[in-house]
Amino acid sequence: MSLTPLTEDQRDALQEVLNIAMGQAGDSLARILDAFVELSVPRIRVVDVSHVADTVREMVGDRHEVTAVRQSFFDDLRGEALVIFGANGCKDLADLMGYAEELDQQSERELLLDVANVLVGAILNGITETLGTELSYSAPSIMAEKAQVETLINLDQLSWSHALLLEVNYSLENRDFKSHLLLLMAEEAIDALRGAIDQFMESI
């Protein structure tokens, strides 16, 4: 790794911000899913671009096929969020949300997009509210369906040098539902985040 984009203090502060955000995200999810949602404490990693693919594979585990949804965010912070669901992610969610019948492919996609949008929005809104920044979002889209983890991130197409990866596990009412959320941010966006964290640390 070439440099460490966040100091130890900034990292701790970000972890704290995320913990608060996760609380809000859990609350939001519970309301939208009508189910009790347990969120793990997020693990943060800031990684050099050359390690992103490996780190993602390590986080998600490389044995399974995954479905991924991507969503852009912009304004004070700029980047892309990826939500990675396990192969059965959608079925589990559909069960949970009371879809008794088999979902057709389009409803399944709509459900995944909605849930990804809620997850991303909940966490990023939590961050921006705590940090006092503003964000806008573009529509989420399906990035890969039933794909191998290692095919998700194409190193040649990455235009940024560092990524902030958040690993968040969700458990839904005794079900083993797992998804991972990744925030990928360009260098200057990490700068902006760092600035916001510094301000936040001064204010408390």
């Binding site: 939001s28 309301r31 389009q106 949008n117 809620v118 929005g121 806008s136 979002y137």
Partner: protein, 318 residues
């Protein structure tokens, strides 16, 4: 530069006239703003709409789903989206391509934005609606082209039946299916007898014509579930899913007779034609799909050796 005050009427003009639907709802699902795009397309002027409940105005809207979506913006203070790919439209509007469209109504992408008050609560939800009919048409054109390309890559250029690459991948799929779920599978390989003579004596155009006619005759004999392809120069193959050796032998004999009685001709000159056929069935101990091809090929060779124009089943060693 315009001051914020001077810019206000300009912004109002843009908001009204921009080629995007914009409307705003309050917590009671009452419309508080309805721009020109919405007026024109819904044929409801703003004064008829503002102050009224959206679902009473448009009973055809999918209320349960849409209300939940809008409520989620109020509750979560989060953006929400709909895409034409999952949900073609929110409002059934006409599109502007009545001649070149091919779709029945305007395709729409919608964004639901939370409008927060100074206290941080969401006071309104602003919905923007973008006409993406063009995008949807281009996408379906692209999909058609991809499908055609995909189909073409599976076909033999001369005869239009499947090519060897596709046959082998199909056979592999069937092989895996039988290995996993049981069932039966047979494979037929056949070769035109003395085809070289036709090419040598009547020329390659004649040879091509005979290959095309043969594939037509064979196509008319096989069953819906069988896959016929050109395996090599004058070699054809049939994959017979859920078929045991006995059934495949009956089909193979039918193929042989049809070709023998096929009345082939080139430039009004009769070209007598026969085929030699080899048939093999997949057994639990057949290790690979390539092995099945090899066994059919062995049987085909025996047909040739025994004088051609006949069908032989692969004999498993006792």
């Amino acid at each position: 530069m315009l001051s914020k005050l001077d810019a206000a009427p300009l912004l109002e003009f843009i908001l009204d006239r921009v080629n995007i639907g914009v409307f705003v709802l309050n917590r009671n699902m009452e419309v508080v703003l309805w721009n020109h795009f919405m007026e024109t397309n819904s044929q409801r002027p703003s004064q008829d709409v503002v102050g009224k409940n959206l679902f009473e105005l448009f009973p055809e809207l999918p209320k349960q789903w849409l209300e939940r979506k809008i409520q989620s913006v109020f509750v979560l203070k989060n953006f929400a989206f709909t895409s034409w790919e999952q949900r073609p439209y929110l409002f059934r509007f006409q599109h502007n391509r009545p001649v070149t469209g091919g779709v029945d109504s305007m395709r729409q992408n919608c964004t639901f934005l939370p409008v927060k008050s100074s206290s941080g609560d969401v006071e309104f939800v602003c919905v923007t609606l973008i006409d993406v009919t063009d995008t949807s048409i281009y996408q379906s054109m692209m999909q058609d082209a991809l499908n055609k390309l995909n189909e073409a890559s599976n076909r033999d250029g001369l005869t239009g039946i499947y090519n060897r690459r596709f046959l082998e991948s199909e056979l592999n799929k069937e092989f895996c299916r039988v290995k996993r779920y049981d069932g039966s599978l047979s494979f037929i390989l056949l070769d035109l007898d003395h085809f070289k003579n036709i090419n040598d004596e009547k020329g390659h155009l004649a040879g091509d014509e005979i290959l095309r006619r043969t594939s037509e005759v064979l196509s008319s004999c096989i069953r819906e579930s069988d896959s016929l392809g050109r395996y090599g120069g004058e070699e054809f193959a049939v994959i017979c899913p859920q078929t045991k050796l006995k059934g495949a032998m009956i089909l193979a004999e039918r193929l042989r007779q049809s070709v023998e009685n096929g009345n082939f001709s080139f430039h009004n000159e009769r070209v007598p034609l026969t085929i030699s056929v080899g048939v093999a069935e997949l057994y639990p101990d057949t290790p690979t799909y390539e092995r099945l091809i090899h066994e059919a090929d062995t049987a085909l060779y025996q047909s040739k050796e025994a004088g051609r124009n006949r069908v032989t089943a692969f004999e498993r060693p006792a």
